[in-house]
């Protein structure tokens, strides 16, 4: 049975591990040995699950290592890992015993070498450009003379001093410094915040809102200037309502902020020069304008004076204008008495011609002729002629009147006869003749009654005979029948 146990076999006296024990031992070795490593490699597949942790592969030509950056750390990474990026990842190695895996816990990632960094920068630049953030239409003109200049930079160091010195030389202004870190991981968020913060100030508030911003930093390595390449900074500059000058690094350094700023300046000193004009130059210019104004006015007046004098010379003398008229007046006034005399003579001659015909004898002759004509007419006027005519007309009138008299008498006699005839006719036809013959008319309440029914209804009856009326059963009715036309009795027959 003893050979069932192989414990004592040569080389077989090493201790036994359980899986957990060996996994734990491996973990201890790996974590102890690789507690802080920098690994250079290309980023492979990247995955960002909703948990916020970041998983990616690091690889080179022959090997792959799994890398993870926990949620809190992933947000603080200086560089966002992207597939294909050449990076140096800093962190520690650990194992994951449950799956027999080992992995790198990444604390930071930096681009590996300038080439990789520049490639990344170029990629980012193209993406932002495609978005239109660098469009020339977005560039705002700088104010000619800003009242307040906001400077976003490190509050200590040569940069702010250079800017202030140059401003002082050219045109001292109010300057508000927003202190920021100009390198390192705090740089981009602080610069972003400063740009947004200046824009958020209200004009005329306790903190005056600048009308020009300068973002400045001295020269440095690509890594030092990296904050000014960050997307948050670029977007803040693009969104800024206040015109902004970028002055980051030296002339040869180009950061993305230079693409998006309204004006790029090679150095901080140059930014101050872009920001304000030279005061003394302006004072000289104003003085010069004043001189030009005065010269122009006096020249204008001088020219007009000369023109006036020229015109005055060309103006004819007053006497020469009146001479002619005066001469005409003289001549006319000389001729006036003679002309008057001539006119009077002419009129007098005419008067004498006319008055020669006007003599009393002529008037008397006219009167005599008129009297003769009157006498002649009067002689022809004989009263007998008139009275004869009147007598004749009288006779005619008498004749006519007697004829009228005769005719009307005849007419009246004719009408009288006709009336008698008609009366006789009436008498014959009237009901009273009938009464003479013994008939009577019965009336009830004044109306003629023709039936026994109507007689029974009447309150009082009356009988008319030829010689009068007799009431029946009552006092005699009022003689209303008089008003009734007797012709009503026609209906009795």
């Amino acid at each position: 049975m003893s050979d069932l146990f192989e414990d004592n076999a040569p080389g077989q006296n090493a201790p036994e591990f359980t899986v957990s024990e060996i996994s734990g031992a491996v973990k201890k070795v790996i974590e102890g040995e690789f507690g802080h490593v920098r690994v250079r490699g290309e980023i492979g597949r990247v995955s960002r699950p909703a948990s916020g942790h970041l998983y990616f592969d690091l690889k080179d030509e022959r090997a792959v290592i799994a890398a993870v950056s926990w949620k809190g750390q992933a947000a603080r990474l200086a560089v966002r890992p992207e597939e294909g990026m050449e990076v140096i990842a800093t962190g520690r190695m650990t194992t994951f015993p449950g799956q027999s895996r080992y992995q790198l816990i990444v604390e930071n990632i930096e681009p590996a070498g300038a080439g990789a960094l520049m490639a990344m920068l170029e990629k980012r630049r193209k993406a932002l450009q495609a978005e239109g953030l660098f469009d020339p239409e977005l560039k705002k003109p700088l104010p000619y003379l800003p009242e307040v200049i906001g400077v976003i930079t490190s509050p200590s160091g040569a940069v702010i001093r250079d800017i202030l010195h140059r401003l002082r030389d050219r045109f001292p202004r109010k300057v508000l410094i927003w202190p920021v870190a100009v390198q390192g991981q705090k740089c981009a968020p602080e610069v972003t915040r400063a740009i947004e913060g200046f824009n958020a100030l209200s004009p005329g508030g306790s903190m005056p809102r600048p009308d020009l911003l300068i973002v400045a930093r001295g020269g440095g390595s690509v890594e030092d200037l990296w904050g000014f390449n960050e997307e948050s900074v670029i977007r803040a500059v693009a969104a800024s309502d206040i015109p902004l000058i970028s002055a980051v690094g030296h002339e040869t350094d180009t950061t993305l902020i230079d693409y998006v700023s309204d004006k790029r300046s090679p150095t901080p000193t140059a930014a101050a020069e872009l920001a304000v004009p030279v005061r003394l130059d302006l004072l000289a210019w104003v003085g010069e304008q004043e001189g030009r104004l005065a010269r122009a006015l006096s020249q204008s007046i001088g020219q007009r004076g000369q023109h006036l004098r020229d015109l005055a010379r060309a103006l004819p003398k007053l006497t020469s204008l009146t001479e002619n008229a005066r001469q005409r007046l003289d001549r006319a006034s000389e001729q006036l008495p003679a002309a008057l005399r001539l006119v009077t003579q002419k009129r007098r001659l005419h008067l004498s011609e006319v008055s020669a015909a006007v003599r009393p004898e002529a008037l008397r002759r006219v009167l005599r002729e008129a009297a003769a004509r009157f006498d002649e007419r009067r002689a022809r006027l004989v009263p007998g002629l008139l009275s004869r005519d009147m007598m004749r007309k009288q006779e005619v009138l008498q004749g006519t009147l007697s004829r009228l008299d005769l005719t009307s008498r005849n007419q009246l006699a004719r009408w009288g006869r006709k009336l008698d005839g008609l009366e006789r006719m009436r008498q014959t036809l009237g009901y009273r003749q009938t009464l003479e013959r013994g008939y009577a008319v019965v009336r009830g309440d004044g109306d003629v009654v023709t039936t026994s029914k109507a007689a029974a209804k009447a309150s009082a009856l009356e009988i008319e005979f030829a010689d009068g009326r007799l009431p029946v059963g009552g006092s005699p009715a009022k003689p209303r029948a008089k008003s009734k036309p007797p012709t009503d009795q026609g209906s009795l027959f």
Partner: protein
């Protein structure tokens, strides 16, 4: 000639109009009355420009920030 009050103009506006006024006056094609008015306006504009140039006062302040990076006020900066 703009109707804006000279006393409300920025330096740049006053400067631009002063330039125009001088140019108009120098061309000499404006009536005399007008040119006197132009001169007076030019003189006012020049005065405004000078005023703005005299307002050349340096005042440097730094913004103070709280722990979260929000501005809390300003403090004067000297010796830079």
């Amino acid at each position: 000639m703009s109707d804006k009050k000279v006393s409300e103009m920025s330096f740049e506006q006053a400067m631009a109009e002063l330039e125009t006024v001088v140019g108009q006056l120098e061309r000499g094609d404006v009536p005399l009355e007008e040119s006197i008015k132009l001169y007076e306006r030019g003189a006012a504009l020049k005065k405004r420009c000078e005023e703005k140039l005299k307002e050349a006062e340096e005042k440097v302040a730094a913004i103070t920030l709280d722990g979260d990076g929000n501005p809390t006020g300003t403090k004067a900066v000297e010796g830079l």
